[in-house]
Chain length 131, copies 3
């Protein structure tokens, strides 16, 4: 059994950004030497998401992220919508590793969704499996 841990750091220029991190994840899987296993990709902050999708241009428009829909004003918190996105979109994914590669469908990519950026944020990549 083998494990490998790596942290990705982000300081986005925009408050909200969606960043394709598939290549970074694949690089860490290669570095781990794991042939069969799982890689966990998990945001270490409660105002960010990690998710699998393709990077269609419609992604932003599709997601129901209009803060006005979520009564956030009642809380007096500016980043309430960011928390909700983190909760519903999720903050982590597990990607299967088969024959030392990310075992994805043809359109799948891993994304980091920054919902409250312009500060240093972190994602953990953790690989576990058989060498």
């Amino acid at each position: 059994m083998r494990s490998h841990t790596h942290y990705l750091w982000f300081t986005t220029k925009q408050r909200q950004e969606i960043i394709d991190i598939t290549d970074e994840v694949a690089a860490q899987v290669a570095k781990s030497g794991v042939q069969e296993g799982f890689v966990l990709v998990s945001a270490m902050h409660i105002t960010a998401s990690v998710f699998v999708n393709d990077h269609e241009s419609g992604l932003w428009a599709v997601a129901p992220w209009d803060p006005k829909r979520y009564r956030h004003n009642e809380t007096g918190e500016d980043n309430a919508a960011a928390h909700l996105r983190s909760l519903t979109i999720g903050h982590e994914v597990i990607v299967p590793i088969t024959a030392a590669k990310l075992d994805f469908g043809p359109w799948q990519r891993v994304f980091y969704g920054e919902w409250d950026g312009q500060r240093r944020k972190r994602v953990i990549i953790k690989v576990l499996g058989e060498p």
Copy 2:
């Protein structure tokens, strides 16, 4: 440590279908020989979900899947609601394996949710654990 990988293929007749795949997942766990571990069940397409629930008749009605709620018309994409369902319902689950069985509560089942079907789609079942 042992791993086992299997792919389920679907070509649904309806554009949208919810299919109980618990028995297929359990069969692959049995085949793996894993006694203690995890099984990942993950859709390999961005317009499908894998989730745990019971198969109550109300499942379809409950989910807020009316495309009109999600501004999808603004994107010009026909399958925008399918992407959103995949994002919010999620595309994967991890089921614990204890004593070589799916360690589920009494009402839990694994479902494949097809949101844009009538074409060949795939789910990966990946088992990892102790023999």
Copy 3:
């Protein structure tokens, strides 16, 4: 490779409660002897969630959980909103274990969200990794 399984039981006084279970999860990781690995924390009922967030006071207000938003009356089921929360918030998380500790960001905590309580409910904690 090592694995460890533990069940947490809850009988909430309120129908809906959010309970911080981080310390219980950390205690089971310590007990497992795993240094590098994953811990799965998964609700064994379809009307509960397990999720990672901080315990801000605004958490309840933020989440779009007003049952009236979800057409649940059409189903005739009283706990329809509970199912939907379980589906969208999710019923499980994987927390990475590094150097025998939960590898969390500074604000992250694990919560059990009871959406239809006042009865005995269960969460599985399953640790898998390297001793």
